[in-house]
Symmetry: D2
C-alpha cells in the first residue's frame, strides 16, 4: 500500500465522490446562479448527516434498553451515547449562526425554485420525533393534513411502523418501572417520602405563621403558595390522583416510573444510582436542546421570511413556534424538580440499604 | 515603580478587595455551609457586571443617536458597540450551562434562606428593559403588583424617569425617520416598490394558474396563500392601514421608519447603506438574543424548581415563559422580511441616485 | 404539485439518497460492527461538506478581487462572505467536542482497518491552504515526502496549478497596494506618521527619565523596552529595511500593502475605510480560527492516540502541532497592532481629505 | 417581609453596592474618558470572580481527596465539580470574543495609564496554577525575576505555602496509587497487559511482513513505526525504565499511578471504574481547556498589541505562547492513549473479578 493507495483510501472510505457531488443548484439551470444557494444545500445536508448519527445513537440506546436484562454496563454506554447526542444538538443549534448569514434578500434569489414547505420535510427528523415518542395526536397540525402524507411508499410505511413500536419514552419508562428500589426490605420509600414532605410543609407554615416580619397580607400570600404546591405532592402520595392526571393529559409518565425517577434524583449520590441519575439528566437535556433548536429555528425563519404565509395558510414561523412547547416529551422528568425536598428533610437510608446500593468490593 | 508597586496596581485598579470580598454565604451563618451557594452568588454577580457593561454601551449608543446631527462615523461606532453587546449576550446565554451544573437538590440546600422571588429583582435588568423601550403596559404582570414596587427610593425614581425618557426604540425610530432617501429627486421609493410588488404577485398568480402540475385543490391553496401575504404589503402601500395597525397594537414602528428600514434592507449594497443595514441587523439580533436568554432561563428554572409556585401565585417558570415573546421590542424590524422582494423585481436605482449613495472619492 | 410531489422534491433537491447512503463501515465487513465508526465517517463528511462551502466562499471572494475595478459594493460582499467563513470555522472548532466523545478505546475498535495517515489526506483542505497562500516551501514536512504525493492524477494537478495561481494572500496584498490614500494631495501619510511616532517615543522617554517613582534599574529597563519597540517602527519608516526583512523571511507583506493596512487601521472611522477595516479584521480572524482549529485538533489527537507514532516516523500529534504556527499566513496583518499609535498622537486629517473619504450625499 | 424588604435583600445578598461601584476608570481622571476602559475593567473582574469559583471547586475537590478514606460518593462529587470547572473554562475561553471587540486603537486610548505588565498579575490565577501542581522550576521565566516577586506580604506568603503543600496533581496521583485493582487475586494486570501488547505487536508485524500489497520500502517503514511505538510500552513493562524517564523529566506521573490510570481506561465499563474514568477524563479536559484559554489569549494579545515589547524584554505574546505547552500538567494522563490496546486484545477479566468490580445489589 503506497501513500498513493492510502490516499485513495481516504477519499473512497468517506465516499467523497458522492458526498461532494450532491450539490446541484436549481438556480444554476435557470436565470443565473444564486451564490447563496450552495449554503442552503450544504447546511441542510450537514443537518441530515447529523440526524442520521442521532438516529444511530438513539436506535442503539433503544436496543440496549430492550435487552432482557439491562446490566449496569449498558446504562453507562447509554449515558455516553446520550451525551454524544446532546453534543451534536449543541452543534445543530450553534450552526444556525451560519445559516443566519444568509439574509432575506439572498434567500429570495432562489426560494421561488423550491417547494413552499421544503423546510418541514425532513424524513429523518420526523422519524426521530416518532422514535422519541411523539404521538400523532399530540403533534401540532399543519395545514390540516396528517403529516404522514408528506411521505409515501416505504418512507411512509417506516413512520407508521415506528408509531406502533416501543418509543424511547416508553423504554425509559419501563426501565424506571423495573428499577427495584422503591420497596426494599423495611424501607418503604413512598411512605418515608410522604412523611418528610408533610414535615417540611408544616414547618414552613409554622415559620410563616409566627414570623413578626410579615404583614398579614404577606402571610396569607405565602401560605396560599404552600397550599398550591401541595397539590403536586399529593399527586405522588396517591396513585389514583396521578392516574387521573394522566387520563386528563396533564402528565404522561406512569406512577411507578415517576416514583423511581424521584428516588433516583433524591439519592443520586448512592453509587448504584449515579449512572441512572446521569441518564435522567441527559434525557431532559435532549428534550431541552431539541426545544432550543426549534426556538432558534423560529428566530431564523423570522429574520428570513418574517410573517410570510406558507401553503398551510399560516406562516412557517407560527407553525414552528407551536412545536417548541407542544412537541416536548420529557417534561415529567424535568418536573421531578417540583417534588424535590432538601437534604435536611431527606429520609436517611438504613445502613443495610446503603450497603445494598454500594459496590461489592471491600477495601 | 518596582514590579511590586505595579502588582499592587493591578489589584487596586480592578478593586479586587471589594470584588472578591463580596461573597457572603447565608448558609454559612446558619445550619452549615452549602457548597453550591458560592456558585449562585458569583454567577449572579457576573450577570450584574455584564448588565452594567450593556447599560454602558446602550447608554452611549443612545447619546450618539441624540446628537443633533448623526454623522456616518457615529453609526459605525454604534454598530461596533451593538456588536459587542451581542457578544456579551452570547456569553450570558452560554454561561447558563454553568448554572445548570447546580441541580435541584443542591439549590434546595440554601434556597429557603433566600426571598422567594429573588431572581426577578435585578434593578439593572429592569433598567435595560425600560431603556430599550419596554413600556409598563406591555409588561407581563407578575402577581398583580406593578413591578416598580420591587424597588424604592432612588432606584424606583430612576426607573420611573427612564419610562418618561426617549427609549432606544424611539431613537432608532427617529433615526430611521430622519434618513433622507425615501424621496430622492425623481425616485419615489414607495411608488416604485408598490409597482414592483404588484408585478411580482401577478406573475406568481399567473404561473400557478397555468401550471399543469398542480391539482385544482393545490392551485386554490397557493392562490389563497398569495392573497394572505398581500395584506402585509397593503399595509405599507397605504399609510392609513399602517396607522390603524399601530392603533390596534399589531405593530409599533412608525410608517416612515418602516419604509426607511425596508429601503435599507432592499438596497443595503449601496455604500451609504452598508452601516445602516448592519445597525438594523444588530438591533434585531439583540432582541433575539435577549429572547433566547429568557428562553434558556425558563429551561434552567424548570430543571431547578419544576412547577414550584412562587409568591406571585404562579410558578417562576410560567412568568418567565410569558416574557419570552411578550417583551420583544423590535419584531417590526425583523418582520421587514415579510415585505422583501427578490432582486429580480427590485426597482433599479437611476445612476445619479447611485452616485449620491456612493463615496466622494473618485478613482 | 401535491404535498407528496413536493416531499419527493426536498429529498431529491438535497440528493439525500446519495448523502445518506455514503456511510459504509469497514468494521461491518470484518470482525463485527464498531458502533463508533459511524461517527468517525459522518463527522469527516460534515467537515468535507463545510470545506466545500468555504472553498465556494473564498473562491468567490478571489473572483471579486480579480475584477479590474473593485468597487465598494464588492468589498461589502467580500466582508459578508468572510464573516460567513468565520462562522463556519467556529462550527468546525466547536464540533470537535462531538468527536471527542469517541475515546481511545472506541477508536481502536476500527482504527486498524484505516490507513495510518488517513487524517492528513483531505484534498479540499490542502486546496484551501494553497488557495489562501501557503507555499510548499513554508509547509511543515511530514515524513520526508512532498505532500503532493498524497494525491495523484487530476487531484495532484489541481493542487500544483493552484500553487502557480494568485493566492488569496496575493490578492489581498494587491488590493491593499491599489488603495489610493497613502499620498493624497498635501497629506503624505508616511511622513506624518513617522513624525507622530517620534513625538510619542520622545515623550515616553521624557516621562520615564524624569519620574521620581522609578528606581534607576527600572528606568533603564523601560528605556530599553522603548528602544526595542523602535525597530518595528523603523521598518516602516524605511522601505529598504522592510524589504530586507522580507528577504530574510521575517515578514511577507509588501511595503505598500503594509502601509495601506496601517492607514486603514488608524483611520478606520472615516466612512470609506469602514469596510476595508472590517475586511482586514475578518482575514486575521480567519487565520486565527484556522490556527485554533489546528490547535484543538492536536488536543483531540492527543486524547485519542497519545504519542503513537505514524508512518511518517513522528506522531500525528507532533506533525499537527508544528502546523499551528507555521501554516499561519496573515501574521503581518495581525502585527499591524505593533505599529499602532494612540488617537492622541494620530495626525489629524485636513478637512478636504476628510471630505474625500466621506459620502457624496449632502445632508 | 414585604416585597420591598425582599428587594433590598437581593441587592444586599449579592452586595451589588460593592460589585457595581468598583469600576473607576483611570482615563476619567486624566485626559478624557476612554469609553472602552469600562470593558477592560469589567471583563477582568468577571475573570477574577470565575477564578474565585474555580479555586472554590478545586479546593473542595482537594479536601475530599485528602480525607483518609475516599469513598465512591466523594468521587462522584469530585466528578461533578470538575465538570463545573470545565464549563466555567468554556465560558472563560468563549468570552474572549467580547474582549476582542476592543481593538488596538481603542486599547491605546488608556493603556499608557496602566502598568506595563498588568495582564500577568492575577494573584488568583497564579494560585490556581500552583494548586494544580505547577512547580516554580517548570514555570516559564519572565524577564528574569521569580514570579513570586510580583506579590508581597500575605499574598506572596500564600503562594509560597501552596508550593509546599500537596497539589491537585499529587492528590490525583496518590488516589491512583491507592486504587487496589492492579493485583487482584489471581489477576496480575501488568503481566496480562504485557502479554497482550506483545501478541498485538507480533500480529501487526506478521501482517506487514506477509502483505503482498506493500512495497519493500513501505514494509520497512511500517515495521520501524511499530518498533518506535514499542518503546512507550516498554516503559510500563519495566518500572525502572519508567523511573529513569521520570528522572530525566520526560514524564511526571509515578509508575503505580500510571498503571492504575491505564487499567481504568481499559476497563472503564466495569461499574466500579465508571466514575474514576470520568474523573480522569475531566482532569485531562481541564488541562486542555486551560491550554486553550492560554492559546486564545495569545491570539487576542497579538491582535491588540502585536509584537510590542514589554518590560520583561520580550513581547507579552511571546511569554504567553511559551506557557501554552510548558504549563500543562496532566500530559501523562492524556498520553495513556499511547498505551491503549483495542478490545480484541484486552485480557478478559475472570468472572469473580468482574463480580468484585460490580454492585452489591442482586437482581
Amino acid at each position: 500500500m503506497s501513500e498513493k493507495t492510502s490516499s485513495v483510501h481516504y477519499i473512497n472510505y468517506l465516499q467523497l465522490d458522492k458526498i461532494l457531488d450532491a450539490q446541484h443548484l436549481v438556480s444554476d439551470k435557470k436565470e443565473g446562479v444564486a451564490h447563496e444557494e450552495m449554503l442552503f444545500i450544504i447546511i441542510h445536508q450537514t443537518y441530515e448527516l447529523w440526524f442520521k448519527q442521532i438516529l444511530h445513537e438513539i436506535g442503539s440506546a433503544m436496543d440496549l434498553f430492550q435487552k432482557d436484562k439491562i446490566d449496569e454496563e449498558n446504562i453507562g454506554i447509554i449515558v455516553r451515547r446520550m451525551d454524544r447526542v446532546n453534543k451534536i444538538m449543541t452543534t445543530l443549534v450553534g450552526q444556525l449562526d451560519i445559516l443566519e448569514t444568509m439574509t432575506s434578500l439572498d434567500f429570495l434569489d432562489f426560494r421561488h425554485h423550491l417547494s413552499p414547505a421544503s423546510g418541514f420535510q425532513s424524513h429523518q427528523f420526523r422519524k426521530l420525533e416518532v422514535m422519541l415518542g411523539l404521538k400523532i395526536e399530540k403533534r401540532h397540525q399543519f395545514g390540516g393534513c396528517p403529516y404522514h402524507n408528506q411521505f409515501e411508499g416505504d418512507k411512509k410505511e417506516e413512520i407508521l411502523n415506528l408509531e406502533e413500536s416501543n418509543s424511547f419514552f416508553t423504554l425509559v419508562e419501563k426501565w424506571l418501572e423495573r428499577i427495584p428500589f422503591l420497596n426494599m426490605e423495611e424501607f418503604d420509600f413512598t411512605k418515608k417520602y410522604e412523611k418528610a414532605v408533610n414535615e417540611m410543609l408544616e414547618k414552613e407554615i409554622a415559620i410563616i405563621s409566627t414570623s413578626s416580619l410579615l404583614t398579614e397580607e404577606n402571610r396569607m400570600l405565602r401560605i396560599r403558595m404552600i397550599e398550591e404546591n401541595r397539590k403536586y405532592f399529593e399527586r405522588v402520595f396517591d396513585e389514583n390522583i396521578h392516574k387521573k392526571a394522566i387520563e386528563e393529559g396533564e402528565i404522561a409518565l406512569s406512577y411507578k416510573a415517576t416514583m423511581s425517577a424521584l428516588l433516583i434524583n433524591l439519592y443520586r449520590d448512592e453509587p448504584i444510582l449515579h449512572l441512572p441519575y446521569q441518564l435522567l439528566r441527559s434525557v431532559v437535556e435532549l428534550d431541552h436542546k431539541i426545544a432550543c433548536w426549534r426556538f432558534r429555528h423560529v428566530q431564523m425563519v423570522e429574520k428570513m421570511l418574517g410573517q410570510k404565509i406558507g401553503t398551510g395558510g399560516s406562516s412557517g414561523q407560527e407553525y414552528l413556534k407551536q412545536t417548541v412547547d407542544k412537541h416536548k416529551l420529557f417534561t415529567d422528568l424535568a418536573n421531578i424538580a417540583t417534588l424535590m425536598i432538601s437534604r435536611s428533610y431527606l429520609p436517611e437510608l438504613p445502613q443495610n440499604i446503603k450497603n445494598t446500593l454500594g459496590f461489592n468490593y471491600k477495601k
